[in-house]
Symmetry: D2
């Protein structure tokens, strides 16, 4: 089985209906592209919704879990990776993704946005009613970060960041 692009989708463990629907649509679109969906693996919020969408399209879903086992994992994971690392697993979420998409969330999502910027992963903010302020935007961060509102726009942006 050949190596495929890994798209990390981050976002809140609590998500409203609009964000959940968008996450599910994005997950499905990622799978249809033949890409791997990576997320935080829990059966909650953006994680559960994006996994559900990708699962429905027959995609490969990789969940990097904070706990020591599969308890609380989203049912649509193809592979659940228990890490036992708690919040430190957020670093893996970012490092293992070719492109990071950050959907609305709280402090955990903000930490993943920060780590994506620090590790120079292409970063897309999707569906934020009001975008979080990114540090150092004036200093070049903007070259790697962008924002949009639909799954179709997100897929187009991601496609341009992947090796041909």
């Amino acid at each position: 089985m050949k190596r495929k692009p890994v798209i990390g989708v981050m976002g809140g463990g609590v998500a409203n209906a609009a964000t959940s629907a968008l996450a599910e649509e994005l997950g499905e679109a990622i799978a249809r592209e033949g890409w791997i969906l990576l997320n935080g693996g829990r059966d909650a919020g953006v994680m559960a919704a994006s996994a559900r969408g990708a699962g429905r399209a027959g995609g490969l879903v990789l969940g990097i879990l904070p706990g020591r086992d599969l308890a609380g994992a989203a049912p649509d994971l193809t592979i659940g990776i228990p890490t036992g690392l708690g919040d430190a697993r957020n670093v893996i979420n970012v490092l293992a993704s070719d492109v990071v998409v950050a959907m609305p969330g709280g402090a955990g999502t903000l930490s993943e946005i920060a780590l994506a910027l620090k590790n120079e992963r292409p970063l897309l903010l999707l569906g934020w009613p009001r975008e979080p302020e990114l540090p150092g935007a004036a200093a070049g961060t903007a070259r790697r970060a962008a924002s949009c509102t639909t799954a179709a726009e997100a897929i187009a942006w991601i496609r341009e960041r992947l090796p041909a």
Copy 2:
């Protein structure tokens, strides 16, 4: 894509010809069973050999890498997971595996054997000319650990440890 058993194969970054051949055979057999092969991901020793075998059989190979990117990754990985955690990634190797197979190796492999015992993962020692002594063997460890010398025996032993 449905969740499949994850078989972790640990072993030295340096491996002699017999160990490499056995690791390659085991990787191939794991893939033929439809199981996922998980290893430490580097292009060296038991990691590279088991990935090569599984790759040849069209299997899914997941490499949990110590570094921050894919540099030095085995070419046969389906998914490389850079962790940036160094040796701390050994914990993930164990926690993410339904069954752990430890082939000959050095101190890194010994740490994975120890972590498998501590976290009560079924543990199989495969192909050791002289087995490492396991702590607490008298105190129940033996219920979860065993040893054998061929890939076929290993597959049979693993199959019995997986949920029906």
Copy 3:
């Protein structure tokens, strides 16, 4: 030796003269209070400056280092803790601190701000010309976070958050 409060001081690996001077003053003031200074341990920016200040006052300085050894550690550390975890050590910076002070910095500092909010550590933003926007401010985060501009104000704020 009795347990003492641990004050985490986060901030950029690059710092301008004003921020460095403020970090040094804060480190000295923390040591004069008899508190332990914890930071990211590197010989750069806010880390080096705060350690220097605390060291001058005879304080105990604990540096949580990203690398596997003491290379690149600030000379004023009392104890350097190499973790080999890279950015994942930021989680420890936060969890090991009774109070977290975030001084101006980039994406790494932002990740520590986010992790402090997520883990409900009292968080003080000190000396930001323009403050980073905190997520969920409306949802209660503000109860635990505040901002100020001088070391004296910071010490007073920290003192109120410590057990009597």
Copy 4:
């Protein structure tokens, strides 16, 4: 406060009376030398006993805890470092120690022995009724590892491994 040697003392969370007494004696002797005692921080077995000995002698005791907070920490820690990393904190126990002393324990202790060998930390086995077998002893490991039965012997061995 000047940098002092950090001596890591590893061992079981369950310890018999002889091992506990020896751990307490070693902790006290480490403190009398003016060295810092580092251990896994929990209020159990070798961790609690070594901390108690060092505490009685007024030493500095640093506990690297597996959990996210100080719950379950030994009462004699000067500084408790919650990591939230579970078993992955064992890597820090080793990397942060100038010398590692391993007392009787189970699989967790074995993982620390393995990690000390892998990371080339001087390693002393103290008080084992029957020593665990070390991998690669023939290949040079023996240069860095030794064993003994009393705290006085341990102190003498450690002293020789520290910079003058």
